[in-house]
């Protein structure tokens, strides 16, 4: 079974540019999450999709971040325009439908560097 995949693995962009991160969850997982770790900080929740619907986006830092999950399969996270403080590692995770557990499957992350 393929795990959660993320693309790209690394991205270096200049301040003010746009970047789009992609996450492919495990097939059949309705729940998809985005997290991020900025330098020296803890991993923080960004948002949660159930299929194509945003269940919880309380962790999104501001309106420069836009997450989509069209068709309930893969998801994208767009940062526009990027700022220096957006640098960090962005993780995607997925879990099965109606899972009353905290078992989530994480991807390897996308390391974003904004210069």
């Amino acid at each position: 079974e393929a795990g959660v995949t993320q693309f790209p693995s690394h991205s270096v962009i200049e301040k003010g540019q746009t970047v789009t991160l992609r996450c492919d969850p495990i097939s059949g997982h309705d729940n998809l999450y985005w997290y991020r770790r900025v330098m020296g900080k803890e991993i923080k929740f960004l948002l949660h999709f159930v299929k194509e619907s945003k269940q919880d986006e309380s962790g999104m830092p501001n309106n420069r971040f836009l997450a989509e999950r069209t068709g309930g399969t893969y998801s994208t996270l767009k940062v526009q325009p990027a700022e220096l403080e957006d640098s960090g590692v962005y993780f995607c995770a997925s879990s099965q439908k109606d899972s009353f557990s905290y078992e989530q499957y994480f991807g390897p992350g996308t390391r974003l560097t904004v210069t």
């Binding site: 803890e42 879990s95 992350g109």
Partner: protein, 114 residues
């Protein structure tokens, strides 16, 4: 969500049993306790989850006393490859239903040496 406290780091040697204790004094009745492991340049990986007493799987054991204000992750006979950061998380599985956001703390950096 309940706040957790765990040691920043621990050192061990190959073949030893490692016990990492996590304090969660404000744990609520519906809260479960979950542990994740993270290697450098990888995403966190689920290890074990429990509610009370003892849970064991092929990787680890989780001991939870009756008052549930702490928990201990036990790794039997660690090897070099167990060097990683271990996170203790506490949360309510019924809060969101159909999925649960994770709240990570700083974790415990375990270093295993020969």
């Amino acid at each position: 969500l309940a706040k957790t406290t765990q040691p920043i780091s621990m050192d061990s040697y190959e073949g030893q049993e490692v016990n990492i204790t996590c304090s969660h004094n404000n744990i609520a009745t519906n809260d479960y306790i979950t542990w994740y492991q993270q290697f450098p340049s990888q995403g966190p990986r689920f290890i074990i989850q429990g509610y009370k007493t003892k849970v064991t799987n092929e990787v680890a054991s989780l001991f939870i006393p009756a008052d549930r204000k702490s928990s201990t992750l036990s790794l039997p006979r660690v090897s070099l490859s167990d060097t990683a950061v271990y996170y203790c998380l506490v949360g309510d599985t019924e809060l969101t239903g159909g999925g649960n956001k994770l709240t990570f703390g700083t974790g415990t950096q375990l270093k295993v040496e020969l």
